[in-house]
Amino acid sequence: MQFLDQPLEFTALPGALAAFHATADEAGLVAFASQVKQSGRRFIALWGSDERDRNAGFALHVAFGIGAGLALVTLPLSAENPEYPDLAAIFPAANRMQRTAYDLLGIRARSGPEHDGRPWLRHANWPADFFPLRRDTDSSLQFDTCNEEYAFVRVEGDGVHEIPVGPIHAGIIEPGQFRFSVVGEKVLRLEQRMGWKHKGIEKRFEQLPLADAYRLAGRVSGDSTVAYAWAYSLAAESLTGCTPPPRALWLRALLLERERIANHLGDLGYLGNDAALSFGLSQFMRLREDWLRLSGALFGHRLLMNSIVPGGVAHNLPAEGGAQILAQCDSIEREVRILKDIYDEHAGLQDRFLTTGRLAPALAAELSVSGLVGRASSQTWDLRTQNPIAPYDQFDTQIVTHRNGDVAARVTVRFEEVFESLRLTRLILAQLAEQPAGELATRLPAAEDGAFGVGWIEGWRGDILVALTAGTAGGIRRCHCHDPSWRIWPALEHAVMGNIVPDFPLINKSFNLSYCGEDL
């Protein structure tokens, strides 16, 4: 089948998700990517793989979101000279992914005038000719650590100075490096340097059994453990042809919405706190704690880790659980509405929120921003509505959007998404009450060597993608996990421009992106 009037011939991948795969040559890939851009569809991810042991060279994989679902295009690269056209010229968001693909695999985007050849994940702690994801690389090797200067872009002029921040930040936050160029209090430019938390997750996958690695997928970014585990399971189920029992699907949706609410509650508290209303922090953190305690009591884990497994779910909802969740939904909803009124009417808070850290809708589109941050800037993408997999195909999820793209908009989207997820939770519980008790998981059949599957799930932060290739003897050949933060971090660099330095923590919190999800 063909999409967007392009000659590329796609085949549908098996499984619950609408996903399609095509192999292209350079011209075909570039033409398709350009068409995706022109037609207002979106770029999702870019990664590579080493196929030299299979009588081929390397391969570049690019994922696009095209109305009908996920379109995946593979470009074969030669073993001797693995180069490909620079896609960052079409989608700026591809820049960091291309640099990462080089650091991990040694496949290179062909340099154009705008080409950025700086390393991304490799901070000189392993040699420049050591490519961990090549299949013949011994990844257990350890090298002397060294600290390398990074070529930050310098802003020059009268009165410009730099504020270097990180990698260790002042607070309980993940490490990353920010370089501010400022005049007085005003930020002229922010440049990020990430990769500090890179711990070789993608290589680690290759050492784990396919049936067990959902635990690792659930720890790519712990705050999105449910979404990652579901995306991984979806990929594993797609490539083995496994269908989870219906009850398990309803339970998965229940867990995913619980995760969304837990994170939004925490963020709403911290957003109040960063605008000097510590009352908001204690109130929302109390609600979050109540929420996590019930998760722990019902599912055995406060953050719901290890709850979703390939083939189904690990735990049933205990008999009294439904009633407990319903009661909690009511009390949380009541309290969050009170807190929303307090936030809305608090002049000091609104003064800090409104017009701060604005990400204009056009820029959000140009940078391929999706998820919560995208929705607060008019990017109407939500997989639960647009490419729903069971059980989301059984009800209409309201997409919450806003046009202003400022901190206030991101706060509003969070509030509204909490209410929507509470509504969905009630619907899900009603369905669960009607489902027969039955099986919680289907046994995952053995995977064929080389079988390929993808999972794509709307986590609380945005859409999470897992692309999985099975290896020999129940192993994994390649697993790429993709966090929406990849595409949203660069947008933060733009959103802070022209704001004052003291507003950066607030703006950053309103984005609340994952460092480890991108560093892998």
Binding site: N125, I201, R204, G222, R286, L292
Partner: protein, 178 residues
Amino acid sequence: MYQLLKQIFVTGLKTETPPLPDEAMRVIGQRLEQAILDKLGRALVIRHIDAGSCNGCELEIHALGNPYYNLEALGIKFAASPRHADLLLVTGPVAKNMQVALQRAYDATPAPKLVVAVGDCGCHDGGTAESACIFGESYASCGKVANVIPVDVAVPGCPPTPLTLMQGILTAICGAKA
């Protein structure tokens, strides 16, 4: 304003009783003299360092500040600089890219200092055990925190619950009674 005050009043006091120290978490025999620990008492300043976690451990460290655990009420608070800290609370595994930063933060912390390693990743080696560090050691990961800086108390769990975390911190400052 009325709504805000009413909400505070209706919420009331939520703080629960803190847990007792747990000697099983101690990694190396007490390094600080009892006299120093007594001086620290419970007025302790913590610097948190994420050396490569999955951010799950951070979520539970955040929870320590909520009204239920209310760590500050015990006189324990978090500081922004290692130079102001008595104790480093380190989550891991230590990513290779963070090794130098962690070492520098440790060196910048004035002696006498304590280190508490957090989470299965921060406390355990890689391997196949249920409680092993799931990321293992590799070209990119130095493994547990003790591979890079000396650790006094290890708080396992994936992630440890806020109560276990509190227990670990209290164990570090209470000193061995034996």
